[in-house]
Amino acid sequence: MMETIEFEVLGKKDTRSGFGEGLLEIGKQNKDVVALCADLTGSLKMNAFENEFPERFFQAGIAEANMMGMAAGMTIGGKIPFTGTFANFSTGRVYDQIRQSIAYSNKNVKICASHAGLTLGEDGATHQILEDIGMMKMLPNMTVIVPADFNQTKQATMAIAAHNGPVYLRFGRPSVPIFVKPDANFQIGKADVLIEGSDVTIIACGHLVWKSIEAAQELAKKGISAEVINMHTIKPLDTQAVLQSVVKTKCVVTAEEHMINGGLGDSIAQVLTRNHPAPQEYVGVNDTFGESGTPAELMTKYGIDTPDVIAAAERAIQRK
């Protein structure tokens, strides 16, 4: 039987612009919010905050290690620093600074990372970090959030200011469909079930959430009922949402713009092996660096597009 799933699209925008709007808004609400940027103010959409609150904006220059250390120090005295640069320079370049001065010292720093993953596009593999979720989720005290669209990135940016502790917030460069309601109540660690289904659970984060919605729509036409969960918080993980769904569907697909090694899929696999073993298929980048290309071309070539989610769902169902 042919079925269709309607899903309302509210527009199309980049998630980094959601960060920029959220930062400005939370800056208005909370005078302790300060922002630091390493020479990428325009790319991070931090200009509005800089213009509105010049005394609370700190241009660090191309010196990310110092920026992270300063952010850690600024928390002493009650400030809530938001750092902004590309995801690669927010994590891999400064891992030890984050580890010692922010995570181990448990400082209230919000590490906000744009241009994550392959969809940074033409700049190529030097900038396309696909390991950052893994690096950040391994750090004790660190919360890791990967919002799915413009609205959710804005909501998450504001929500993390109210959370006391280090946070890694990961978002991206390209324009993607907006489907989260502008007045949605973003809760750290609480997954969103976007589509209910009974044959397979698709758990996704970031740009792969929309791809998973598209996949569920296609699967419905084939008579396959897919449940789609937006797992915007990788850590702490909403294990209850995972188990509730898998008990029903008995198989899982995880989908992310990240290495399969160390990403969302690994976190979900831990939940399954410990609580409710079930077949799982991974949509992610398989132990390779990216390259230059358009975001769409890269997602196709590296196997993280809608057809890949569909194929993974069919494989997972066959393994039940």
Binding site: E55, R56, M70, G73, I76, G77, Y104, S105
Partner: protein
């Protein structure tokens, strides 16, 4: 505080240091002994602080960041002797479940410590951040940092140095423990720092020099540094010290950077250091 009294405190701090590292056969006595006079001067004479009611934010108090975290024994002893926690706790140094970790940390909530350190090169950035927050909060107390000379080989130090000068972070006094030695040998042999004073000057800092074992010179230099607060330039003190100061066989060599004395050596060291405040 009178110099004589400071000297008595520093002597006890030195006894604490050698006893702490000897008890666990690990830790870093050399640099710790070299900075005993400096930290005594700072905590007992210079800093405005509140040992009885430590709080992380430290508003209205001077803050201290130890960037070269491996000399934790001298910091722990100074904090204990200043009243942050009972000196008996020094006996737990580097032992399982102790608050006094090999390198300073905040996760076990040691009073007096606001930032983990140990991986080198990070403390100047942290100090600058804290100084920026003090400015935002219109809090006119100061931020002090201490760095090893070998630590200046880390690139992040120079990122921070550039930032502080460009942004006029003039409520911070950094001090360099210029003992000329690091684990592998003399700093000049491992990776020479060149002309340190000129380097800091070229980076836009106000540079002062002092003898880290002369309380009168330290008192005068701190007075000079404080007179320069608010002059739109960050301040660094290049402090000459002797690694191992106070224990004759540890001086004049890099070999006691990270090696603890055995029982016999401990006795020898303690015979050279007067017990003034009572051993823990």
């Amino acid at each position: 505080m009178e110099n004589q009294e400071l000297e008595r405190i520093a002597s006890q701090v030195r006894r604490d240091i050698v006893r702490m590292v000897s008890a666990v056969s690990s830790g870093h006595p050399g640099g710790s002994l070299g900075c005993a006079d400096f930290l005594t001067m700072l905590y007992f004479d210079q800093m405005k602080h509140n040992p009885e009611a430590f709080n992380m934010n430290g508003e209205g108090e001077d803050l201290f960041f130890l960037s070269n975290g491996h000399i934790s024994p001298v910091w722990y002893s100074t904090l204990a002797r200043a009243g942050y926690f009972p000196s008996e706790e020094l006996a737990t140094f580097r032992k399982i479940s102790s608050r006094l970790q090999g390198h300073p940390s905040t996760d076990k909530k040691v009073p007096g410590i606001r930032m983990a350190s140990g991986s080198l090169g990070q403390g100047l950035s942290c100090g600058i951040g804290a100084a920026l927050t003090k400015k935002l909060n219109q809090d006119d107390t100061l931020v002090y940092t201490l760095h090893g000379d070998g630590e200046l080989q880390e690139g992040q130090i120079w990122e921070a140095a550039m930032y502080a000068a460009a942004n006029k972070v003039d409520n911070l006094i950094a001090t360099i423990d210029y003992n000329g030695r690091q684990i592998d040998g003399d700093v000049d042999d491992v990776l020479s720092l060149g002309d340190l004073t000129k380097k800091w000057q070229a980076f836009g800092w106000e540079v002062l020099e002092m003898n880290g074992h002369d309380f009168e010179d330290m008192r005068a230099t701190f007075a000079k540094a404080k007179s320069l607060i608010g002059n739109e330039k960050p301040i660094v003190i290049v402090m000459t010290t002797e690694m191992g100061q106070g224990v004759d066989y540890m001086m004049g060599t890099h070999k006691w950077h990270g090696v603890a004395p055995n029982d016999e050596q401990l006795t020898d060291a303690l015979n050279q250091l007067e017990e003034t405040l009572g051993d823990y």
